[in-house]
Subunit: 250 residues, 2 copies
């Protein structure tokens, strides 16, 4: 297997509605699962308010730290949508109507309906690469390693497929889950020994409670299936010794 | 009304399972809604991996930046639970068995069941204040302005009530939502004018789509009801002029 280096991403969730608790963010999970499948590991997520200074600072800090940055939210038509202008400032780029985006939206709306608010959705760094939106017309955009996506989960989901080819991933991150009918403290010591012997596998332990029964999901993550298999066999050994039941589902 | 200063909080969600997309974080929303009710505004959320260096750095950066910090996750019995030891290092405090926590857990478990893994859950900064856990025994802890809570949402929910009295909030943040049968671009200009005239009210605009119909929820947030009322009446004026229907629910 070719030994590629690890590729890391950061996610910036922009929006007061997430910080106030009004809206439950689901975009982190959507983006992480998609990026994992491309061999890109999400290393950090920040949720920040619709404040220009904070957006500029966070984008500039994280874009230097990780291979790719994805922002969600703040690219709509209203006054609280300031992601496009803030990202322009972060990169010292001209913010204004983007020719291709204007042309897309002109065609998208009926004659006379391409009003001021809608024209704002075509404003961004004027040289940005567009991220096409098959759901509702208004595109996202990409500058260098920063990809700006909308906050509405269904629209975001429809757009990410269009940028997969622009991203260079590492080896895909593989995972295996072992669900056990036990409690964490019963297996903590043995699991810790397995982790010590298998440093390249990320072993997570997550308690669950379903249908009145307690259990633990052990998740093995690595880009090397052989290493996962080795870990798995060591875990199978100690669960047999301890007479712990393996269950199908959490 | 007494004019208190604003009180800000940061949240640190600790856990590889959130970054991999395996688990959907819901603790941010739970904590934000609860903190809002106490007059504390969440200003930033960071999701970070189970890595000692990152936990120490993030706790030390944010605890100086905000009035209160809440961490979730990483206080269980397994090898990947390193929040308590990392927070001890962040504060340069001794990590070890906490007398009161040991005593609580000794009583919680049946004789002979207080094993090594469970004893780990009583290890933390030895002088920390405990956060009691009415659900599953193992307490969280508090050092200065940092409050460490578990990651399991139902357990976290059962514990936060016990720390409300330790927090000094500002004026409660009030909010009012106006749901309209329209699209954002139709109201963007008028709403922006209202925001310009009412700088102390945070006006958010959130498109929704339910039962096949599009709508926009306008959310007004401020600690001053009079300012919200003023904003609301200006919005009612422009929606009447535009003949936009107000709907009960999103």
């Amino acid at each position: 297997m070719e030994n590629k280096k690890e590729i890391f991403a950061g996610i910036i969730i922009i929006g007061n509605e997430i910080l106030s608790g009004r809206t439950q963010d689901t975009n982190t999970s959507t983006l992480s699962i998609w990026l994992n499948s491309l061999g890109i590991k999400v290393q950090e997520v920040r949720v920040i308010p619709d404040t220009e200074e904070t957006i500029i600072k966070t984008v500039n800090e994280l874009r230097k730290k990780y291979n790719y940055i994805f922002t969600t939210g703040g690219i709509g038509p209203t006054h609280d949508d300031i992601t496009a202008s803030s990202v322009s400032k972060a990169f010292n780029l001209t913010y204004g109507p983007h020719k291709e985006a204007m042309s897309i939206l002109e065609k998208y709306y009926k004659p006379g309906e391409f009003n001021e608010g809608r024209k704002k959705m075509a404003c961004m760094p004027t040289d940005a690469n567009l991220i096409l939106n098959p759901t509702s017309g208004a595109p996202g955009f990409n500058v260098e390693n920063v990809f700006c996506l909308p906050g509405v989960p269904s629209i975001l989901k429809s757009m990410i497929g269009g940028i997969s080819h622009k991203l260079i991933g590492g080896n895909p991150i593989l995972s295996q889950t072992i669900n056990l009918r036990t409690v964490e403290s019963e297996i903590a010591k043995s699991l810790s020994e397995v982790q010590t012997k298998n440093k390249d596998v990320d072993i997570g332990s997550y308690p669950f409670f379903r249908a009145g029964k307690l259990g633990v999901a052990i998740v093995l993550r690595s880009s090397d299936q052989n290493k996962i298999d080795q870990c798995n066999s060591e875990i199978q050994n100690f669960i047999k010794e301890k007479n712990i039941e393996v269950v199908e589902k959490e």
